[in-house]
C-alpha cells in the first residue's frame, strides 16, 4: 500500500487540510455541552434572559462554523480520494498494457479486471473515509474524555472505564464476527455455485433424473448457511444491547459521582448535565471509528493487491534494431517452456522458412503449434536456441518494428467495440477504404461487411454481433490490412466450412506482397498444399517436408491424415 502513496503527490495540501477541517468541526461540537452548562449554571440560575439568548445564538454559530468546516473537509477528502484513484487506475492500465504474455498468463484476466475495478474502488473509498473520519471520530471520543478531565478528575475516570469497556465490546465483537461472516459468505458462494451448476448441467442432470438429488444437496447447503447466519447474527446481535447496557451503567455511575461532587461543592448542576451530554456523544463516534478501522483494513488489503500487480515486471527487454524484416524465419534448436510448467512446450525445433513460402504447422491439441508461431513476434521468448528473422536474432529487433511487419490472426478471434472500419484500421491506421475492401475481399469477408451495412456498421463488445466464422474472417482481414511481410494464421479458419477455407487459402496464395505465411491447423486439408509442413507431437518436431514426403515418411502425419481422409477415399484421388 505504501508505494501507492506516490500517486497522492500534489494532494499533500488537501490531505492535510481535509482532516484539519474535520478536527475543527469536532472541536466546535465538543464546545456545545459547555455552552449548555453555562446556560444552566449562569443563565438559569441568575435569570439572565439576554445571556441565555446569546448562548443559544453562540450554539447556532458554532453549528454553522462546524458545517462550513465539515463541507470544506468533505470536499478535500473527495477530491484527494477520487484524484488518487484516477491516477492509480491510469498507472495500472498502462502497466497492464506493458505486461508480456508470460505475465498475463500468470495473472489471469479475471484478476486484472478485479484489480482495476473493485479493488481500486475500495481503495478510493478507504482513502475518502480515512481523510474524513481519521481525525474526527477519535478526536470526539477522546476529546470528550479530555473535556471531562478539564471539568472534574473523578468524574472523568468514569469516562476512562466506559471508553475502555466500549472499545472492548465493539472491537471484540467485530473481531469475533469477522471470520463468522466470512464463513457466511463462503456458504452463500456455495449456493450460487450449486444454482449455477444446476443450470449449466440441466440437460445432463435431467437425462440422469437427478432432480431430487439436486434438491437434497441444495437444501443441505441452505441449512448450513442458515446455521452460520444465525450464529453470526447471535454474536453480532450482542453489540447493541451490550453497549446500551454499558453506557447506561456509566450514566448511573456518573450521576452517583456527580451527586457526591456537587455535595462536596466541586461540581455544579450544569456541569453534571454537560458531562452527561459528553457521554452520549461517545457511543456514536466509537461505532464509526470501529467501522472506519474495518474499512481501512479492507482498503489496505486491496491497495496491497494493486501494488503487487504494479510490481509485476515484464521480463522481456526490447531490442534496438529497427531494420524492417523481409520475411525469412529460422528456428535454431529452439526450446520454449511456459512459466511453472513441468515439461517444455517446444523442444529442439529447427527449420528454415524462406520469404514468400507457406509453412503448414499441424499436430494435436497441446502439441506446441501455437507456441511455435507465438515465438516469431516475440509474444514469448525461447528458453534456449535462437529464433532468427532474416538471419538476425529476434530479440535484437525493436518490438514495435517487428510486430508492425507481422500480421497475426490469433486462435481466439476478437473484435473490439466500435465500427468495422475502426477494427480494420488497427492493422494500419493510414489504410484507405480501397485497401480495406481489398483485405476484406482476400479474407472472404466482403460479403459479411456488405450484409451488415458497410464499413461503418457497429461492432458490439467482443464482436458479439458476428458469428464465429464472420469474426474469424474479419480478424484475418484486419491482419491483411497492414500488408505484412509475415502472416500467421493460428487455427483461424476452424469455424469456416471447407469450401470457404479453400477459397481463402487460394486468395492468400495470390497476394501481391507474397508474405511468408504460417498456417496452423488441425485439418490436414488446410496445410497439405504448403511448401513445407511441420508436424508437431508433444512439443517435438516429428516430421518436416511436403505433404507427399510426410505421407511416406511420417507416421504421426499419416495417422492425422487418414483419420480425416479415410484410406480408400484418399486412394480415389
Amino acid at each position: 500500500m505504501t508505494k501507492l502513496l506516490k500517486y497522492m503527490k500534489g494532494y499533500g495540501r488537501d490531505c492535510a487540510l481535509g482532516p484539519l477541517f474535520k478536527l475543527l468541526e469536532a472541536v466546535f461540537e465538543l464546545l456545545i455541552p459547555l455552552v449548555v452548562a453555562q446556560i444552566v449554571d449562569v443563565g438559569v440560575a441568575a435569570g439572565d434572559r439576554g445571556f441565555i439568548v446569546r448562548m443559544c445564538l453562540l450554539m447556532v454559530l458554532l453549528g454553522l462554523v462546524g458545517l462550513v468546516c465539515a463541507i470544506t473537509a468533505q470536499y478535500f477528502a473527495a477530491r484527494t480520494a477520487v484524484g488518487f484513484a484516477a491516477r492509480v487506475r491510469h498507472a495500472v492500465m498502462a502497466h497492464i498494457l506493458s505486461l508480456g504474455y508470460t505475465e498475463q498468463d500468470a495473472l489471469g484476466g479475471a484478476t486484472l479486471v478485479t484489480r482495476m475495478t473493485s479493488d481500486i474502488n475500495q481503495v478510493q473509498n478507504g482513502v475518502n473515509l480515512t481523510l474524513r473520519l481519521l481525525l474526527r471520530s477519535p478526536f470526539v471520543v477522546f476529546g470528550a474524555m479530555i473535556m471531562a478531565f478539564t471539568i472534574d478528575f473523578q468524574a472523568a475516570l468514569v469516562f476512562v472505564v466506559l471508553i475502555g469497556a466500549l472499545c472492548l465490546v465493539v472491537f471484540g465483537i467485530m473481531l469475533v464476527t469477522m471470520p463468522m461472516y466470512r464463513r457466511v459468505q463462503v456458504g452463500l458462494d456455495g449456493i450460487t455455485a450449486a444454482t449455477r451448476e444446476n443450470l449449466a448441467g440441466v440437460r445432463v442432470l435431467r437425462a440422469f433424473c437427478k432432480e431430487d438429488d439436486q434438491i437434497r444437496t441444495f437444501s443441505q447447503r441452505t441449512e448450513v448457511l442458515k446455521e452460520r447466519q444465525l450464529l453470526a447474527g447471535r454474536v453480532s446481535g450482542l453489540m447493541n444491547p451490550l453497549t446500551f447496557a454499558i453506557l447506561n451503567l456509566a450514566v448511573a455511575a456518573l450521576i452517583q459521582v456527580g451527586a457526591l461532587r456537587v455535595e462536596a461543592g466541586v461540581l455544579t448542576q450544569g456541569l453534571v448535565v454537560a458531562l452527561y451530554n459528553y457521554m452520549s456523544q461517545i457511543l456514536v463516534e466509537l461505532v464509526k471509528m470501529a467501522n472506519l478501522i474495518i474499512n481501512m483494513t479492507k482498503a489496505a488489503a486491496c491497495g496491497n493487491r494493486v501494488q503487487a500487480l504494479l510490481e509485476v515486471q515484464a521480463l522481456q527487454t526490447d531490442g534496438p534494431d529497427t531494420q524492417l524484416p523481409q520475411g525469412g524465419v529460422e528456428f535454431r534448436n529452439v526450446t520454449a517452456s511456459y512459466a511453472g510448467a513441468a515439461a517444455p512446450a517446444l523442444e529442439g525445433i529447427s527449420f528454415l522458412a524462406r520469404p514468400g513460402q507457406t509453412i503448414g504447422v499441424i499436430g494435436g491439441t497441446g502439441s506446441g503449434k501455437t507456441t511455435l508461431v507465438n515465438l516469431i513476434p516475440r509474444f514469448y521468448d525461447a528458453s534456449s536456441g535462437q529464433v532468427l528473422l532474416d538471419g538476425r536474432p529476434v530479440d535484437s529487433l525493436n518490438r514495435q518494428t517487428l510486430r508492425r511487419e507481422i500480421g497475426m490472426v490469433p486462435q481466439r478471434s476478437e473484435l473490439f467495440q466500435g465500427t468495422i472500419r475502426e477494427n480494420l484500421l488497427w492493422g494500419d491506421g493510414s489504410a484507405t477504404d480501397e485497401e480495406l475492401w481489398q483485405a476484406l475481399e482476400t479474407a472472404q469477408a466482403s460479403q459479411v461487411v456488405r450484409d451488415k451495412g458497410g464499413l461503418d456498421s457497429p461492432v458490439s463488445q467482443g464482436g458479439a454481433n458476428f458469428s464465429g466464422g464472420q469474426r474469424q474472417r474479419l480478424t484475418i482481414a484486419r491482419a491483411l490490412v497492414r500488408k505484412p511481410r509475415i502472416l500467421i494464421l493460428d487455427d483461424s479458419a476452424s469455424a469456416l466450412d471447407y469450401a470457404t477455407d479453400a477459397r481463402l487459402r487460394g486468395a492468400i496464395q495470390n497476394l501481391p506482397e507474397k508474405p511468408t505465411v504460417f498456417v496452423v491447423s488441425q485439418r490436414a486439408a488446410s496445410v497439405r498444399y504448403a511448401d513445407q509442413i511441420l508436424v508437431l507431437d508433444e512439443g517435438k518436431l516429428v516430421g518436416q517436408g511436403s505433404h507427399g514426403e510426410l505421407l511416406a515418411s511420417c507416421p504421426v502425419y499419416r495417422e492425422i491424415y487418414y483419420s480425416q481422409f479415410p484410406r480408400e477415399e484418399a486412394a480415389h484421388e
Binding site: E29, C56, M59, L62, G63, A81, M93, A94, S98, V113, M116, Q124, A193, T195, E197, L199, A200, G201, R203, V204, L205, R206, A207, C209, K210, E211, Q214, I215, S219, L225, K226, G233, R234, G237, P241, L242, V251, A252, I255, A259, V262, E263, Q269, G363, G364, T365, G366, P377, R403, M408, P410, E414, Q417, G427, Q461, D497, Y498, Q522, A525, P566
Partner: protein, 581 residues
C-alpha cells in the same frame, strides 16, 4: 411496478411468512419494550439531576432510588433488544432458506424452453442476491421502521407531556433535516447515475482490453487503448468527485439541523426553566430527546426506499417461482413391456417460436439396434433432435413412439432412463471422478465403476490422475482436457447402458489420438443398441442405417449413403465439399 402489483407481492410475502407471524409479533412487542426503556432513561436522568442542585441540596436517597431504576431499565432494554434481534434473525434467515428452496425446487420443474430463453446469470441472481435483498430490506426494514416510528411517537408524547411549548419547537425544526436530506438525495441521484454510467463504460473497456490484451499488443495498439481509457477515466473522475462530494454533504447538514434543534430546545427550555415552568432535569431530558428524536427520521427516509427496492426484488423472485412449470407426468404413466429401442416418429411438428416453423410432417421409423446418423453444417439443429427425443421440449403435433408407446404418455423419468446421452458440450458435476461416472447409478460398486471406465478407454488416464478415481473435479471439469471429459461422459453412460443412445461425435476440438479412443468407446457402446449419432466422420456416416440430413433446423433428406448420393441433393453437395478434394 404499480401500486396494485406491490400489494399483490406483499400478499405473497405474507403467505410465506405466515408460519413466522408469532415471531414477528413477539419482535414488535419486544421492540416496543426496548423503545419504552430507552425513552424512560433520559427522564430518570432528568429526575436525578433535579436531586443534585447544590452543596447541601443533594438528596442521596432519592438519587439512589432513581439510579436503581435506571439500571433496571438498562437491563430490561438490553435484554429485549437482544431477544428482538434473535427473533428477527430467525425469521429472516428461515424465510430466506424457505424461499430459496422453493425457487430451486421450482427450477427443477421449469421447462427447458424457459431455462434456455433466460440468461443463467439472471436466474442465479434471483435465487441468490434478490432473495437476500428481499429478506434484508423487507423484514429488517420493517422492524427498523417500526422501532423508528415508535421512538418518534414515544419521544413526541413524552415531550408534549413535559412541556408542549418546547415540544413544538422540536417538531417545527426537525422536518428541516428531512427536507435537506431529501434535497441532497435528489441532487445526488442524478450525479450517482452519471458516475455509475461512466464506471460501467470503463469496466466494459477494461473487460474488453484485458480479454483481448494479446491482440492489442500484437497490433501495437497500446497507446491508442490507453488514450481511450484516459478519456473515460477523466470523465469518471469528474463525475465521481461530484457524486461523492455532494452526497457527503448530507451528514454535516443533518448534524447542523440537529444543532439548530438543540439550540432551539436550549433556548425555550432554559427560558421556561428560568420562570420555573420546568426543572433543570426536565431540560436535560429534553436535550437528550432532541438528539434521539432526529435520528430515526433519517433512518426512516432510507427505509422507505429500501422497502420499495426489496419489494421489487421479491417480485423478481416470485416471477421465477410462478413461471409455468412443465405439464406433470400422466397419473398412470404407460411404459413399454420391454425397452428394445424401437423408435417411431409420426408426422412430427415442432418449432421454438410460432412464427418460425422448424420441423413439419416428419416421420421416421427406426428398428431396434439400428444406427441413425445426423449430418449437416454446424448449427443445423441437432440439439432440436435431442430436445424432442428426451422430452426437454414437447412437439406441437405428431408423436414419438418408443417400442410402440407414445413418449407423451410415459413418465419423463422412465423415458430418460432409457436413453444414454453423450454431448460434445461435456458437462461434469463438481465431485470426484468416481461420483461423476456413477451419476446414473449412485449405488454402483467401485469395481463396476472401474469396469465402465475401462470399457470407455478412460481407465488409463484416470489412473494417472493424482488421486485416481477419487480425484475431485471442479465446477465444469477443471483441469481435464476436452477429450478426457468426453471419455468420462462416455463412462458415465457406459455404467447404466440404456437401450438407446444419443451421441455427439467430436469435431476438431480434440486431438486425433484421443479422438480415436473416443471413437473406439463409442463403438463399444453402440453394439446392439439403437443409436442416434451427430456424425462428422465419413466412416460413421457411411455405416449408418439411416442418414438424416439437417439444414437450418429442418430435416431435409433421409436415407442411406448411396441413395442420398444418387439423389444429388444437399447431402451430395455437403459430401463433396467436406470429403472430396
Amino acid at each position: 411496478m404499480n401500486e396494485q402489483n406491490q400489494w399483490q407481492i406483499l400478499k405473497k410475502v405474507l403467505l410465506r411468512v405466515r408460519r413466522h407471524l408469532w415471531k414477528i409479533a413477539a419482535s414488535l412487542v419486544l421492540a416496543t419494550g426496548y423503545v419504552a426503556m430507552s425513552l424512560r432513561i433520559p427522564i430518570l436522568v432528568g429526575q436525578a439531576v433535579d436531586q443534585i442542585v447544590a452543596p447541601g441540596d443533594v438528596d442521596f436517597a432519592a438519587v439512589a432510588a432513581i439510579l436503581s431504576r435506571i439500571l433496571l431499565c438498562a437491563a430490561l432494554g438490553a435484554v429485549s433488544q437482544w431477544l428482538m434481534q434473535e427473533m428477527n434473525n430467525r425469521t429472516v434467515y428461515r424465510v430466506t432458506q424457505q424461499i430459496r428452496e422453493e425457487a430451486f425446487r421450482h427450477l427443477q420443474r421449469l421447462p427447458l424452453s424457459y431455462l434456455d430463453s433466460h440468461p443463467q446469470g439472471d436466474i442465479v441472481s434471483r435465487v441468490v442476491a434478490d432473495v437476500d435483498s428481499f429478506a434484508d430490506g423487507l423484514l429488517m426494514g420493517f422492524t427498523q421502521f417500526f422501532t423508528g416510528v415508535t421512538t418518534i411517537l414515544g419521544t413526541l408524547g413524552l415531550m408534549l407531556a413535559i412541556r408542549w411549548q418546547i415540544a413544538l419547537v422540536v417538531v417545527g425544526i426537525t422536518p428541516v433535516s428531512l427536507l435537506v436530506a431529501k434535497f441532497i438525495a435528489q441532487r445526488t441521484y442524478d450525479l450517482f447515475r452519471e458516475q455509475t454510467a461512466a464506471q460501467g463504460e470503463q469496466t466494459a473497456l477494461i473487460n474488453e482490453t484485458v480479454g483481448g490484451l494479446k491482440t492489442v499488443q500484437a497490433f501495437s495498439h497500446e497507446e491508442a487503448t490507453l488514450a481511450d481509457f484516459d478519456k473515460i477515466n477523466t470523465r469518471l473522475e469528474k463525475s465521481a468527485l461530484k457524486a461523492i462530494f455532494y452526497s457527503s454533504i448530507t451528514n454535516p447538514s443533518t448534524r447542523f439541523v440537529n444543532a439548530l434543534v438543540y439550540a432551539g430546545v436550549g433556548l425555550t427550555g432554559a427560558l421556561s426553566a428560568m420562570t420555573g415552568g420546568i426543572t433543570v432535569g426536565n431540560l436535560t431530558s429534553f436535550l437528550s430527546y432532541a438528539n434521539q428524536y432526529t435520528k430515526p427520521f433519517n433512518e426512516i427516509s432510507g427505509v422507505v426506499a429500501e422497502l420499495q427496492n426489496s419489494l421489487a426484488c421479491a417480485g423478481r423472485v416470485f416471477q421465477l417461482i410462478e413461471a409455468p412449470a412443465m405439464d406433470p407426468d400422466p397419473q398412470e404413466p404407460a411404459r413399454p413391456a420391454k425397452f428394445t429401442g424401437g423408435v417411431e416418429i409420426r408426422d412430427l411438428e415442432f418449432s421454438y417460436t410460432p412464427e418460425k416453423p422448424l420441423i413439419r410432417d416428419f416421420s421416421l421409423s427406426v428398428r431396434p439396434g439400428q444406427r441413425v446418423a445426423i449430418v449437416g453444417p454446424t448449427g443445423c439443429g441437432k440439439t432440436t433432435f435431442i430436445n424432442l427425443l428426451m422430452r426437454f421440449y414437447d412437439p406441437q403435433g405428431g408423436r414419438i413412439l418408443l417400442d410402440g408407446v407414445d413418449t407423451q404418455t410415459m413418465s419423463r423419468r422412465a423415458l430418460r432412463r432409457s436413453v444414454g446421452m453423450v454431448l460434445q458440450d461435456t458437462w461434469l458435476q463438481s465431485g470426484t471422478v468416481a461420483e461423476n461416472i456413477a451419476m446414473g447409478k449412485p449405488e454402483a460398486t467401485r469395481a463396476e465403476i472401474i469396469a465402465a471406465a475401462k470399457q470407455a478407454h478412460a481407465h488409463g488416464f484416470i489412473r494417472r490422475l493424482p488421486q485416481g478415481y477419487d480425484t475431485p473435479i471442479g465446477e465444469s471439469g477443471g483441469a481435464l482436457s476436452q477429450g478426457q471429459k468426453q471419455l468420462l461422459c462416455i463412462a458415465r453412460v457406459m455404467l447404466c447402458l440404456p437401450p438407446m443412445l444419443f451421441l455427439d461425435e467430436a469435431t476438431s476440438s480434440i486431438d486425433t489420438r484421443t479422438e480415436l479412443q473416443v471413437q473406439r468407446a463409442f463403438d463399444a457402446m453402440m453394439a446392439g443398441r439403437t443409436s442416434f449419432i451427430v456424425a462428422h466422420r465419413l466412416s460413421t456416416i457411411r455405416e449408418a442405417d439411416i442418414i438424416l440430413v439437417m439444414k437450418d433446423g429442418q430435416i431435409i433428406e433421409q436415407g442411406r449413403h448411396e441413395e442420398l448420393l444418387r439423389k444429388g441433393g444437399f447431402y451430395f453437395e455437403l459430401y463433396n465439399s467436406q470429403f472430396a478434394h
